[in-house]
């Protein structure tokens, strides 16, 4: 099986302008390498500021990496011209944490969905409406929602709409940047199931970026733990969970109370575990 995406030694530096003194340089990505196989999910977990979102932007061709290479379907895309990147962008769609902020509040559901369809330029009014209806039912929304505004939808419905909009261009890779983090537990489960269904039916490939280790372990085939712009641990979910020591529950709590003395990425993993677990597990 071929990898859909391959990233090699990706580095991204930003320079921070200061009013006085020399500009400061921030290294958001410090040599990241991984690959994702077609139809699988790679989860990237880490604290805020570890470079997760910069990685997402580089992959989606919205930022150019400082150095390093990104292959998408065996084609190097980080050095392409803007015109060629535009074509690639259709095949890699992003879904953000807060769907409310990623929609135009004055647009109806139909308008939100037909905008990407209009870009492809070969669909007419009636076809577009029926395609929009098809997309809505694909993500479990009722097709007669087309006339509503995004503000009239609940958080879960909005995130479903964001997924439908991303699917409109039939992308090959979906980048989910904290896509479940802002949702309630019960809604998270619904959207997680939807993502799994879509992966089954469309053979979709996901990059799932999150700070929720339990959900990452649940959805992903492989997990990479990031810290300070680097991948510090990578492997199958079972392996990562085992390494962080929460099979033995006492060890987890020991890790929590001593967390200040643990290496950064171990501490992160311990906190990630406690932060999201079924309540009963906390009392075992």
């Amino acid at each position: 099986m071929h990898g859909l995406v391959r990233v090699e030694n990706l580095v991204k530096r930003f320079s921070k302008t200061r009013l006085a003194g020399p500009n400061q340089e921030v290294r958001a990505l410090a040599g990241v390498s991984f690959s994702i196989l077609r139809g699988t999910t790679l989860a990237i977990v880490g604290e805020s500021g570890c470079g997760k979102s910069t990685l997402a932007l580089c992959l989606a061709c919205l930022e150019r990496p400082t150095s390093g290479k990104i292959w998408f379907e065996e084609r190097e895309i980080s050095g392409l011209h803007e015109k060629d990147r535009r074509v690639i962008r259709r095949q890699i769609q992003l879904i953000f944490q807060d769907p409310a902020n990623s929609f135009n509040p004055r647009w109806t559901v139909l308008e939100i969905l037909t905008e990407p369809l209009a870009l492809t330029g070969n669909l007419r009014g009636e076809e577009m409406r029926s395609r929009a209806g098809g997309l809505l039912s694909q993500v479990g929304l009722s097709p007669d929602m087309q006339g509503k505004l995004s503000s009239e939808l609940s958080g879960g419905q909005r995130q479903r709409l964001a997924i439908a909009r991303a699917l409109a261009l039939e992308p090959k890779l979906l980048i989910l940047d904290e896509a479940l983090s802002a949702l309630d537990c019960s809604v998270q489960a619904q959207i997680a199931n939807l993502l799994m269904d879509l992966q089954g039916s469309l053979k979709m490939t996901y990059l799932f970026i999150s700070h929720d280790l339990a959900m990452a372990a649940y959805l992903a085939d492989e997990i990479a733990v990031m810290s300070h712009g680097q991948i510090v641990e990578q492997g199958a979910p079972e392996k990562i969970l085992k390494q962080t020591g929460q099979r033995n529950h006492d060890a987890l709590f020991a890790a929590k109370s001593r967390s200040r003395f643990l290496p950064a990425h171990r501490r992160l993993a311990a906190c990630l575990c406690v932060y999201r677990s079924r309540p009963r597990e906390l009392f075992r």
Binding site: D184, C185, N193, M196, C271, Y275, R278, R280, F283
Partner: protein
């Protein structure tokens, strides 16, 4: 021991622009002993933020049909005179809001914002203000850090530091009750753990009574004494934290806990299985119905749930649940 805060049959409704009445809180009753931490668990739309603000009589302009009582040390805050209430807000009962980036003034230094709270409650000696501010910030930050934080503007601080400044404002006047509305929701997990640690320390050192509102049950695990589960503005379950978190009784609480991805799933295999979910959408349950508000989504619904609203039933001395399943015939 007498309760420090007692809420009796609190009801708040909102009128939407279309004139539709939406009941945000529908008969909430509970009481808090001094020094107790109560976790309020609820998803969006359950009325948890309305609960936080109603306890201090901070109502939205479109709030209608406010009834019930909030007794603080025997005084009903919903009936109190405005100037009486002003002396209680922020001094005896303080509230910590969800978004630290929105709650702080963007163009005032953090130290000044803490001083303002003290000044509003009658401290006007400059050196005393300085001293108290330093003391409060010293409680929440390392000594060498506190000085710098006091001189910083909110945008220069990280999310966790901003949250601590908000906590500093809340504890500056030495309150007896602290209401925290999703204080960790916008923070990443390590910062969440740290902030939770701050609350734990404060509780010990100041003997605070706390209402801790969240949508994440995992946070309440080793922190809350009691847990109240809210659904559609009603108490569906109330009891000792361990009772509720380990053996929840109400179908909603059970379904909610089931829907969280398990971390310690020993039966994990290579084939991916689905997470159990609660069918339907919580928006639908805000419509006024005759029976139990959870009935349309409930996997264990019975005939009676459609027509009658269940009352609170004791399943043990410390655990009450609002469900017909547990009513003795």
């Amino acid at each position: 021991m007498g309760a420090i805060l007692e809420v009796r049959d609190l009801r708040v409704a909102y009128r939407s622009r279309g004139g539709v009445i939406f009941r945000a809180l529908d008969g909430i009753s509970f009481s808090l002993e001094p020094g107790e931490v109560m976790g309020v668990l609820g998803e969006s739309g359950s009325g948890k933020s309305t609960l936080a603000t109603s306890l201090l009589r901070l109502f939205h302009a479109n709030a209608v049909d406010i009834s019930g009582s909030v007794l603080f040390q025997g005084q009903d805050l919903l009936q109190a005179e405005a100037d009486e209430l002003q002396k209680i807000r922020g001094k005896l009962i303080s509230l910590i809001f969800q978004e630290p980036s929105v709650a702080l003034h963007p163009t005032l230094r953090a130290g000044r914002q803490v001083r303002q709270v003290l000044a509003a409650h009658g401290m006007n000696c400059r050196s005393a203000l300085e001293k108290r501010t330093r003391e409060v910030l010293g409680r929440l930050f390392f000594a060498e850090e506190a000085e710098r934080i006091a001189r910083s503007y909110p945008h220069q601080l990280s999310g966790g530091q901003r949250q601590r400044v908000l906590i500093a404002q809340a504890i500056a006047c030495g309150p007896s009750v602290l209401i925290a509305d999703e204080p960790t929701a916008s923070l990443d997990p390590t910062t969440q753990m740290e902030t939770l640690g701050v609350f734990r320390t404060l509780r010990k050192s100041m003997g605070l009574t706390m209402i801790f509102i969240t949508h994440n049950p995992a946070l309440l695990g080793d922190f809350a004494d009691r847990v109240l589960v809210l659904y559609a503005g009603r108490v569906v379950e109330l009891g000792a934290a361990q009772d509720i978190l380990v053996s929840p009784k109400h179908p909603y609480t059970r379904a909610l806990f089931q829907s969280i991805a398990p971390l310690f799933d020993t039966r994990r295999d290579s084939s991916k299985k689905k997470l159990p979910t609660i069918s339907g959408d919580s928006l639908e349950s805000s419509l006024p119905v005759a029976g139990c508000p959870f009935e349309p989504r409930c996997p264990e619904r019975m005939e009676i749930c459609k027509s009658r609203e269940p009352g609170l039933v004791n399943v043990s001395e410390t655990h009450t649940v609002s469900c017909f399943r547990y009513e003795s015939p």
